[in-house]
């Protein structure tokens, strides 16, 4: 299997007046073409920094990222992201169809855009909803629109940032199965960032377990489950239960010793403090990028 995404010795440190914060220490992994890899880690461990470096929104301070062999400098041409907050990532002034077409305007003519968007909406089961506005749909349907938008873009790599964290449990199951279905049908390479252990086991071909901040890869686990998964039987299977236990142990879940709790709390405070720096850096890098290209 050839590697679609290669991350080598990645590290990122935010600089500010009152000190520096290392979000990512030393990360190396690859994602093969057609693979679905889940990145799971404790909250505030640098997952969003990782996502932003891969998507080219921020330039890492150390290490290298390459997408199908090309080093990532700035946002790659063929990369799509599905964000957690669908209500904000979709454009409320555009219909569902126009939302899906929006990123295609750069490269495709009107007719081609329309067919591609319609096709993608059909993949996610929303062929009938094209003329509605996003806010007329349920949360789960809105996230499907976001997935359709990403798929219509034909990305070499589809990044998903906690994609199902904002929907109810029932809808989450549906969306997980939808993702598995479309990624097989469309042969998409997917990297899902999540904090949900069960979800990472259910979705992934592989799971990357990250340490607390600064993030590094604690374990790279292969998911030994049949490709065809089922919300009930898969979750009952021994392999599933064993694997979710292993991931949970790696993440220190449920350990409530004073020490672990204190470390976790400190970690979360750090994360909150540096979330702002992260966003600022992302928009700065983006502004430079735009200034360079236009």
């Amino acid at each position: 299997m050839t590697a679609m995404l290669e991350v080598a010795d990645l590290g990122h440190t935010y600089q500010a007046k009152d000190g520096a914060h290392t979000a990512i220490a030393d990360l190396s992994f690859t994602v093969g073409t057609g693979e679905l890899v889940c990145v799971v880690g404790p909250s505030g461990c640098g997952k969003s920094t990782l996502l932003r470096t891969i998507s080219g929104l921020i330039r890492p301070t150390r290490g290298e990222i390459s997408l199908h062999g090309n080093e990532v400098r700035g946002v790659p041409d063929d990369l799509a992201v599905v964000f957690q907050d669908y209500s904000r990532s979709l454009f409320p002034w555009l219909t569902v169809q126009k939302n899906v077409e929006f990123p295609l305007r750069r490269s495709l003519g009107r007719a081609a855009r329309r067919t591609r968007a319609a096709e993608a909406l059909e993949w996610v089961g929303l062929a009938e909803a094209g003329r509605k506005y996003p806010w007329q749909l349920s949360g789960g349907m809105q996230q499907r629109v976001a997935i359709a938008r990403a798929l219509a873009y034909r990305p070499a790599l589809l990044l998903m940032d906690e994609p199902f964290a904002s929907v109810d449990a029932q809808t989450r199951f549906e969306l997980e199965d939808l993702l598995l279905k479309v990624r097989t049908e469309q042969d998409t390479t997917v990297l899902v960032v999540t904090h949900d252990i069960d979800e990472s086991v259910y979705l992934g071909d592989r799971i990357l377990v990250l340490s607390t901040s600064p993030a590094s890869v604690v374990a790279d686990l292969k998911v030994d489950l049949p490709a065809q998964r089922d919300q009930i039987t898969t979750r009952e299977s021994e392999a599933f239960v064993a694997l979710r236990g292993e991931v949970a142990r790696l993440l220190n879940v449920g350990k409530t010793s004073e020490e672990v709790r204190a470390r976790r709390k400190a970690n979360e405070q750090q994360a909150a403090k540096w979330a702002e720096a992260e966003r600022a850096e992302a928009s700065r890098a983006e502004a430079e990028e735009r200034a360079g290209t236009t």
Binding site: L57, V75, R88, F91, P103, R105, S283
Partner: protein, 268 residues
């Protein structure tokens, strides 16, 4: 029909009360509404049938006034929206010009009429300048505020999909800012009416404002009152038209978010 009655009953009632009071008082300064209506008819609606019964006064004074009002407002809208969006998306630039904007918008525009008279000499240019300078601020400040408030997720979404700059400005920033921009446009439109009149009070004999002044100087009070009522009706009509346009332009907004948006000017 019922709603229509409800909306206008109080208005009609007050006109009747006004009629009775002025009839009772019999004061030349306060003509009866019916007298005002007759004066208005004589002033504006007694023209030839070929001109839709509009008189020369309408063509010589009312239309030019309304033209200047729209012209000034439109120029202010173009400058305000484009400058506002630019400043709103550039924190550094906004920082630099912030104090200047706050200073300039604090100057009461009528005070600038004499200045503009010197700079542009008396006439349409000076009147337009007065209107533009006076109504620019609500549009500009609302546009800055609106452009600034594009949320981070939309920004990152656009960045990740490599949305080109023109598409980003026209397709994301402007629609995001549109509700606030419209609020600014509405405040400015009613201000335009005020400044149109103000700009016609000195150094000109053209326009609704100057006609009003002439009528007042000649003790022609029904005509003066007719002018005042014309301005009120004009303001009402303009606001209604803009509101209808705004509803159409912002039809995409979820119903619960559709507020009677009158965002007050915010400091930069």
């Amino acid at each position: 029909m019922n709603r229509f009655l409800q909306r206008w009953a109080v208005f009609a009632g007050l006109v009747v009360v006004w009629e009775l009071l002025t009839w009772y008082a019999d004061d030349p300064f306060f003509p009866r509404p019916t007298e005002i209506a007759v004066a208005a008819q004589g002033l504006w609606f007694s023209g030839p049938a070929g001109d839709l019964f509009l008189t020369d006064t309408v063509f010589d004074h009312v239309f030019p006034s309304v033209g200047r009002l729209f012209g000034g407002w439109a120029i202010a809208a173009v400058i305000g929206i484009s400058l506002g969006v630019a400043l709103g998306r550039s924190p550094a630039a906004a920082e630099y010009v912030g104090p200047l904007l706050t200073f300039m918008r604090s100057i009461p525009p009528p005070l600038l009429v004499p200045v503009f008279m010197l700079v542009f000499s008396v006439g349409t240019t000076m009147q337009l300048a007065t209107i533009v300078f006076g109504v620019l601020w609500p549009i500009l400040l609302n546009s800055i505020d609106g452009a600034r408030s594009v949320d981070a997720t939309k920004f990152e979404t656009s960045a990740v999909f490599r949305i080109p700059k023109p598409q980003w400005i026209l397709g994301v920033v402007l629609p995001s800012a549109a509700p606030k921009i419209f609020a600014g446009l509405r405040v400015s439109l009613s201000l335009s009416l005020v400044l149109m009149v103000v700009s016609e009070l000195v150094g000109t004999d053209n326009g609704i404002g100057s006609q009003l002044l002439v009528a007042q100087r000649e003790f022609d009070f029904p005509d003066m009152w007719a002018g005042i009522i014309l301005l009120g009706a004009l303001g009402y009509a303009l606001n209604t038209v803009l509101l209808a346009f705004e509803r159409k332009a912002l039809a995409w907004q979820p119903k619960q978010e559709r507020t009677p948006a009158t965002v007050e000017e915010k400091a930069v």
